[in-house]
Symmetry: D2
Subunit: 401 residues, 4 copies
Amino acid sequence: MDFSPSSKGQEVLTKLKSFMREEVFPVEDQYFKDLKAQANPWVVLPIIDELKAKAKAQGLWNLFLPKSDYGAGISNADYALMAEEMGRSFMAPELFNCNAPDTGNMEVLVHYGSDEQKKEWLLPLLDGKIRSAFCMTEPGVASSDATNMEATATIEGDEVVLNGRKWWSTGIGHPDCKVLIFMGLTNPDGPKHAKHSMVLVPKDTPGVKVERMLPVFGELDEPYGHGEVSFTNVRLPKTAIIAGPGRGFEIAQGRLGPGRVHHCMRAIGAAERALDLMIKRATSREAFGKPIVNLGGNRDIIANARISIEQARLLTLKTAWLLDTKGVMGAMSEVSQIKVVVPNMLQTIVDQAIQMHGGAGVSEDFPLTSMFAYARCLRLADGPDEVHRGLVAKLELLKHK
Amino acid sequence: MDFSPSSKGQEVLTKLKSFMREEVFPVEDQYFKDLKAQANPWVVLPIIDELKAKAKAQGLWNLFLPKSDYGAGISNADYALMAEEMGRSFMAPELFNCNAPDTGNMEVLVHYGSDEQKKEWLLPLLDGKIRSAFCMTEPGVASSDATNMEATATIEGDEVVLNGRKWWSTGIGHPDCKVLIFMGLTNPDGPKHAKHSMVLVPKDTPGVKVERMLPVFGELDEPYGHGEVSFTNVRLPKTAIIAGPGRGFEIAQGRLGPGRVHHCMRAIGAAERALDLMIKRATSREAFGKPIVNLGGNRDIIANARISIEQARLLTLKTAWLLDTKGVMGAMSEVSQIKVVVPNMLQTIVDQAIQMHGGAGVSEDFPLTSMFAYARCLRLADGPDEVHRGLVAKLELLKHK
Amino acid sequence: MDFSPSSKGQEVLTKLKSFMREEVFPVEDQYFKDLKAQANPWVVLPIIDELKAKAKAQGLWNLFLPKSDYGAGISNADYALMAEEMGRSFMAPELFNCNAPDTGNMEVLVHYGSDEQKKEWLLPLLDGKIRSAFCMTEPGVASSDATNMEATATIEGDEVVLNGRKWWSTGIGHPDCKVLIFMGLTNPDGPKHAKHSMVLVPKDTPGVKVERMLPVFGELDEPYGHGEVSFTNVRLPKTAIIAGPGRGFEIAQGRLGPGRVHHCMRAIGAAERALDLMIKRATSREAFGKPIVNLGGNRDIIANARISIEQARLLTLKTAWLLDTKGVMGAMSEVSQIKVVVPNMLQTIVDQAIQMHGGAGVSEDFPLTSMFAYARCLRLADGPDEVHRGLVAKLELLKHK
Amino acid sequence: MDFSPSSKGQEVLTKLKSFMREEVFPVEDQYFKDLKAQANPWVVLPIIDELKAKAKAQGLWNLFLPKSDYGAGISNADYALMAEEMGRSFMAPELFNCNAPDTGNMEVLVHYGSDEQKKEWLLPLLDGKIRSAFCMTEPGVASSDATNMEATATIEGDEVVLNGRKWWSTGIGHPDCKVLIFMGLTNPDGPKHAKHSMVLVPKDTPGVKVERMLPVFGELDEPYGHGEVSFTNVRLPKTAIIAGPGRGFEIAQGRLGPGRVHHCMRAIGAAERALDLMIKRATSREAFGKPIVNLGGNRDIIANARISIEQARLLTLKTAWLLDTKGVMGAMSEVSQIKVVVPNMLQTIVDQAIQMHGGAGVSEDFPLTSMFAYARCLRLADGPDEVHRGLVAKLELLKHK
């Protein structure tokens, strides 16, 4: 159980931190202001392309792909600390081609894609030329139970025909989003985990319609966004199915382990940022003749934040280390553990940071409400807290059988 | 300690509930959709004027003014239950001319306004013809300590000259907002609670500039809104000062007691609505073969919500009863107690309702994120939790002296 | 919903408070020291008999029996405030013949006892000459589900024969304990709520054996105590059955409503005492150059304690008022609500009071650990938190059907 | 940051686990029953001496002393996992000569003792022939602020004279307790951290009097116990002072780092035991037709317990690793972090385990109330939560200076 970064990991991390310090933090405020000032904010501003090019040139690119011919060959444990660093700014992940859901989609293609699928979609994704979305959650049913899925991917001869309605398809609003991964029911009468298929859908295929973009606590998260998408008789060749019909669940399972570590480490980075902001505000403003930090229980809040961040980080690093050393099956409980504990930790700390900022905290002058929305969504996305607690308990009870 | 409504209170409450059921709930969804669809949503849609007229015709008007020549003459205890009812819909309070900050501003004018001030501003406010804003909080200092206030209201001959910057001036975006109550420093060397004045400022006075509208968790709350406002050498006759120079704190003190009861009762109404939505969703969706309500700790969440709402309501009713029978000074601890407990209760229940809704909970398909934003702001507005806890503790310790 | 005491209630309450102040508080420390110093602490010290006589002489006797020919004829709402007062000292309830489980047992006899049963057991209980126990919970099964009960009360001719093992039979260690109420299975195949009988068992009946006294957090609660009792072929005439065979559940149901209000109000009295002790300690000791009360979040703790006590009291008073005005069936949700909220509130406040006392808090120099044990047991006794939350949720869901 | 045990550590840990499984767990129930059945339970039962001899013979002895000529030479990181294992049974630590406060006292002597002091006290302690106590906390002042200490250790010629009153002197009731370490004021006018001395006091020195043994939640923790001790003109040669006059604080500081890790790891062992008991009970009892574990939020409780134990362990292991690699000064924040988080975690889990046991949970049939008392005391001993949170916050704020 060694959580220290490898020497390669340490080297890349140092370079990444310096990139964040020199290239990202100084421009992010202006970037978000510029973006909001656009009549149409669903665009890629030039600064993004510039920074992507710089990051790529420095080798800070595709860091999330461990031991792969395609990526940077960095272990989950090493990447975890990088994801934390990227999590400090909402602007950062894409700059390193490390943003969800593209990371998960690329992993799926690396592991399950055909040569043709790789050539058509994986290479441009790895290159940062196009973006993608993942269409799994549905508005009509409780998606916490994946077996509720109603969308269909029916085989008709050499074609697969998609029908259904998805939502919370993150990234679908991005102007470069060219491909969706759609999951649907192919063999309704097959065994429980062999009923569904994953299909690669070019976004401009007839029958695909983005019905609306969904706000999260009032924010649309431009230029990525979260879409509600209808699929009406969308016809594609069977070769669009990833790994063949009926393997959707298997792929989904493998996709989510590392993705959850990434989300959690980014959330830890966000929590560090929130604590940082909290301390800056609490030490720079006065009330009742004292810096706010010296009033009431404020120091306790800071101490508790530090303690809960430390604990969350260690558990997430252990999970990354387990993924590296024992694989997804050897990290099942831990993946669910961090998925419960980290977003809740972030939500709590951000809530307290908001309180310590007074009215400014709920405005857009600080990134706190965005962090709050991120935390709040993470408690639902990739499985709600309840499902993950259930899995942790189930595995715990198995030890006693 | 009798919390039952009086017979008059009961009668009005019954009428109000029926108005809500027949006129408000059926149209509110469409109203908010129509409003959001406007190119410029800072407008009063016709349905609002229609419903205001109906409500007025039924005597459901200015219900918040107890024992007054101007209002409906309803006690705080009776009004509390009405405020709860109105709190179930964000659309409702204005329909009965009972929305903040106009209610507080009207109360100030009833109690402290000169005849001239009453004629010019109170009567049209009571009539629902104009709206108002209250300019107290400042961006540059911790406003939780009111003595931090930096804006000035300097007497120069027969004039008072206003300078400073305010924010969270709620309602200032409303097209009918015609008058602001501004609070500023008049006698910097006077005794601690006689330094400030409150001044009535027509919104179109030269030197008054709404610099921007502030989003709360991404929502601008059109058509009311929360503004950041600069006052630059705003000159007004001394007669614009309410109750004379140096009485700002005294007025503010009296303004806040009933206002906090109103806020809290509306929050209780919102909590009932959130619980209602939670139960509807939890009983109508299934996962893992059961209605969601029967999974894990969900019934516990519902039970705890019911218990905390009941407790919060009783404490708020007691506070209203104390205001009626012992006045603001006799309800000081209780006013602060509810100000702490009710918004936190609402925040918790809404957070849980969001969780039970899944992704839909963070979208705009349900009023949950708006309720969340309301709860979150209430924990800061009219004094943050910390200040109110401090006051409750101080009064508690005094009993032991 | 009028929670003010009636004029008679106010008069008795005033007398009771003065009795507590003059007769109880000054001697309680010494009483418990004397009791602990006994070789055999399962005794009634003379001071108890003395104070009982004084209380009786003042009419402060059997205050818990509302509208009865037997008791003081005080409503639940009026008695609630008296129970709170008694709850401030563990020594108090018996002095007024108002201690559990005798109160509940007397109520059962008033409502369901035959003339003979009343004469034999009720009158001496009302007189304070004997004490009683209630034998319901069983060690071998989860007693949170009352239908799990395994003990039997089998009818054989004119006799009823008892077999089984009970525990947490409170009061059975008292030297004056002469009678037990035993609940057991009579018609195993009868309808779900008509299977059990309640039987009056003289403690010295052959076959009744107190196996051991159970400590609660290390305390035996002398001279009352909580016993584990075996019943082996205990034979009694059928006339010992209360209200006839098969009515056990019906009686249990009615017994518990007022009893839970009593428990909760005593717990509120204990919470007030704990808050009082907390403030005394926090204002009288210094650390780091300040009274402890001014350190960190301590004032917040005091404020939160005050707020949660106020809320718990109001909800309990409402429940008492409902019992008076709508009966047990009209107060079902509220009885369960207070049973959840009040013991948890007490446990939290006592835990914080302990923390503020430092090491002294966990010792016997203060009544805090006894209060903690009381709170902790109350979360299990008369139905655990979980069962009560379940009932509250169930009744809440019924409103939506 | 490598938390895996070293190969030597792993070897000893395996041996220890097997000792616990084969020698300790099978006898502990009987041991505590036998002890409680003693007329005088302040004794060492033969089983203890037997098991000590066995453990010593297997090299499972003095495992807590890292890199020392005197102990087992095991790092803090390695020992941490052994302490966890010992923490599963209250009977265990002494068997391996690893129980507080002897461990801390031995460490003090190893690092600061003179040759003579080592010969007289350290060797028999290392040998397990005698036991010791540590006399620091005082009843008369808030000992959370160590500068409040009032006891004196006055130099008079070649002697040091002790006066004062101490309490919570753990272990002083043990029949083998032969020596106390007393801390008192020597130079009242010296610099803040050079005022106090630590003095070795044979327990039978004239003037030393154990006034009473203090119960903790009703338990006296025989045969160790916690004493209140008066020191009246206790005269000793100056050579009894450890490391010379005025070095008391310096010694205390160094003593506490590893000691806190030991306490926390034992608490984690206790938490694992509590979770184990909770699951056994919840899966073996039924209510409402289901195993208790499947009712309401019980699985959530189990999941949360697992998650909080994992997090607490990782943070404690990191702290041990920091102590090994960076020394006490490099682990200051982390030592305080675990001191806050671990006892609270244990208290919460034990409270929930009690609830899941029903009445049995508060009795002595399970070790749960003892674990609760351990957790509760740990939140006060070696610095209360508040002081440790204060230190964590202070160090956090320093990063921002």
